[in-house]
């Protein structure tokens, strides 16, 4: 038998929640920061010289659990090759009515030709539009994904696109902490190493700082990050609430 005096525990908890900040946001007006590993719409990458990375091997189509990828390879024309190797993907289609954004295609790709951007806000009104072909998926000459008119790109999503990241998280493993998990983006260089589970993470650089700040108040006490606990956390909270003067910020 549980403590009978704890009968009002549920009432206390729900009442305390009245004063806690909201978890949800009013979505279209206010958009929350995305996770650094957000899986969004795919892109097909190019090399610096403009050659396509895809070699038409169909590994992505083979690994896809929902069969949403359709690839056909063809021998490169000898006079103007499309990709550096022997073959290239001359048909590349992804059906976004089926895609579950598991990123297994990204893991399977031997040449890092297919990666995922963080953009998920795209919609279509008929089935034909749901199938993205090479015309939509290929990056432009500068290595950035095409911003199609029906897609809602936010700032920073394109910049994170080209780098390859693994679908499974090696950062849970201590030996991978602080190690860069991405290859260089076109024009972007190397990104900061992703946050590990021990101390010393650089959330500001990887883009998960905003998220952690938004969520830590709803966490159980033992899950609150160390820099948010105790006196240090208190000082930090107070400092964040005090408005910073504009002049000092700019100078």
């Amino acid at each position: 038998m549980a403590n009978p005096f704890n009968f009002f525990g549920g009432f206390k908890l729900t009442f305390a929640h009245l004063a806690r900040p909201k978890v949800t946001t009013s979505y279209p007006q206010h958009k929350r920061a995305k996770q650094p590993r957000q899986h969004g719409r795919h892109v097909l990458n190019r090399y610096e010289d403009g050659m396509e990375k895809c070699i038409g091997c169909e590994l992505c189509a083979g690994v896809c659990p929902v069969n949403c990828i359709y690839v056909r390879g063809l021998d490169n024309p000898s006079d103007h090759p499309v990709s550096p190797g022997e073959r290239y993907g001359y048909i590349y289609e992804i059906n976004y009515l089926r895609c579950i954004h598991c990123d297994l295609c990204v893991e399977a790709c031997p040449t890092q030709a297919i990666t995922e951007s963080k953009m998920f806000e795209f919609s279509f009104t008929n089935r034909a539009d749901a199938i993205y072909t090479k015309a939509e998926l290929l990056v432009d000459d500068l290595g950035f994904p095409q911003r199609l008119p029906w897609e809602d790109w936010r700032e920073g999503e394109a910049a994170m696109t080209g780098g390859w990241m693994r679908a499974t998280s090696p950062s849970g493993d201590a030996s991978f902490e602080g190690v860069v998990q991405w290859t260089a983006d076109l024009g972007e260089g190397v990104r900061a190493p992703e946050a590990g589970q021990s101390e010393g993470r650089d959330d500001a650089a990887t883009g998960s700082k905003q998220l952690r700040d938004a969520f830590y108040r709803h966490l159980q006490p033992e899950d609150v990050p160390l820099d948010r606990r105790g006196l240090q956390g208190l000082i930090r909270n107070v400092r964040e609430k005090v408005p910073v003067r504009k002049s000092r910020e700019t100078s």
């Binding site: 929640h17 978890v23 949800t24 709803h218």
Partner: protein
């Protein structure tokens, strides 16, 4: 005839004239209009509060703070197709929503909203009606709403609503006993059945409220029983969204569904108001010594007290998980009814003399011991295969028939 009316309401002391008729009509229109608006606000209040308690935002699109969300929902429901299932009993199916919503409306008629006003030489009580049977009217109305629920479930011609309606009526009837018993304690100490009398007897300050005069227990029983009557969480096995897909009103759509929804929330408000009337002195409270404010302050007190209980109902919903059906029946029959019965006897005893009161307490303790021993015996009763009675006759659908049917289909 006039004398009879005058005992019921001082408004009819000089007979029923046009002015009196007009006052009565205005009272009815104002109160029911306010009640309907209060329902709209209550739905908004519940949705907003429950979302606050769950760290969500809640309705926000329509009007300031989402205040018009209920209006938008209502318009949407009215615009939807009004379906009557093929297997339904059409007349009863259409009648049932009104049997649910009318008691919700009518119960509010006996609630004293404010004190007494003087308009053009007429003494006007700020409540729609003050019938001599008073609070019994509330019990009668809650009895009728059971019919509404039962008939709605039965006439749908569908099995889940039927199951839910059977649950609902069993639940409402079992808690009505405890409810009635606590109302009796209130009537005993007031010496009057009328709601006006009940409120006036609690007028002398906070220590005269029935909540304290009767010793908290009747209020606690009443609160639990009335929550069960309302089919609100944690007693919402009737509606149980997860198992019975909304319960007795599963087959209802469009405006008829809106009526059920309206009735549910109107009942919440009405029962909060009844609770305030019975245990919290109704409109009693501090009144400033300014002549023109004397009639408005009781109304403010009444609204405030009622809002507190509306808040409590939403709080229950946020904090408590749903009762299992056997737990619900346990609480009703084995705990609340004996407790309310015993408490009624004790209150009655103390009203006669303190000796009788002490006697009743000792009788209550003995009865409690006997009852708990009986429950204990009932729990440890042996039940094995040899205790199960042999089956009588055949099962409704014998195995071979089922096999034959399934063979034919394949």
């Amino acid at each position: 005839m006039n004398a009879l009316l005058a005992t019921a309401d001082p408004l009819f002391k000089h007979g029923v004239t046009w002015a009196v008729f007009l006052i009565v009509v205005i009272k009815i229109v104002v109160v029911f209009g306010a009640l309907l608006n209060a329902v709209i606000l209550m739905i908004w209040f519940e949705r907003k509060l429950i979302s606050d308690m769950q760290s969500r935002i809640g309705p926000q699109r329509w009007g300031p703070f989402g205040l018009l969300q209920t209006v938008a929902d209502g318009l949407k429901l009215i615009g939807k197709e009004d379906l009557v299932p093929a297997g339904a009993d059409r007349f009863v199916f259409k009648l049932a929503p009104y049997l649910v919503v009318l008691p919700a409306f009518l119960t509010f008629a006996i609630v004293p909203i404010g004190g007494t006003m003087h308009i053009a030489g007429h003494v006007v009580q700020l409540q729609i009606a003050d019938p001599p049977m008073g609070i019994l009217f509330m019990l009668a109305m809650s009895g009728i709403s059971v019919y509404g629920v039962m008939l709605a479930g039965w006439s749908s011609g569908s099995k889940y609503p039927l199951l839910s309606a059977v649950r609902a009526s069993a639940q409402m009837i079992s808690y009505e006993a405890a409810l009635g018993m606590t109302v009796v304690t209130v009537i005993l100490i007031t010496g009057s059945l009328t709601t006006h009398g009940i409120v006036v007897s609690q007028g002398g300050g906070i220590w005269h409220w029935n909540l304290i005069r009767l010793g908290l227990i009747p209020f606690a029983i009443f609160l639990i029983a009335i929550t069960a009557e309302l089919n609100r969480p944690p007693f919402d096995v009737v509606e149980s969204d997860s198992e019975l897909v909304g319960g007795f009103h599963t087959e209802y759509s469009s405006f008829r569904f809106a009526i059920f929804y309206l009735a549910e929330f109107m009942n919440t408000i009405t029962m909060s108001a009844i609770m305030v009337t019975l245990f919290f002195g109704g409109p009693a409270g501090w009144v400033p010594p300014v002549a023109h404010l004397k009639w408005i302050f009781p109304i403010i007190w009444f609204v405030l007290k009622t809002t507190v209980f509306c808040f409590c109902y939403v709080w229950f919903r946020a904090a408590l998980p749903r009762f299992r059906y056997d737990q619900l029946m346990d609480l009703g029959w084995k705990r609340l009814i004996p407790l309310s019965l015993g408490w009624m006897l004790i209150v009655a005893g103390f009203l006669v003399s303190w000796r009788w009161g002490l006697l009743m307490i000792s009788v209550g303790i003995i009865a409690w011991l006997v009852l708990s021993r009986a429950f204990e015996l009932g729990k440890t009763r042996e039940s094995g295969p040899e205790r199960v009675l042999p089956t009588v006759g055949e099962r409704p659908i014998p195995g071979r028939v089922i096999r034959k049917l399934s063979d034919e289909e394949s």
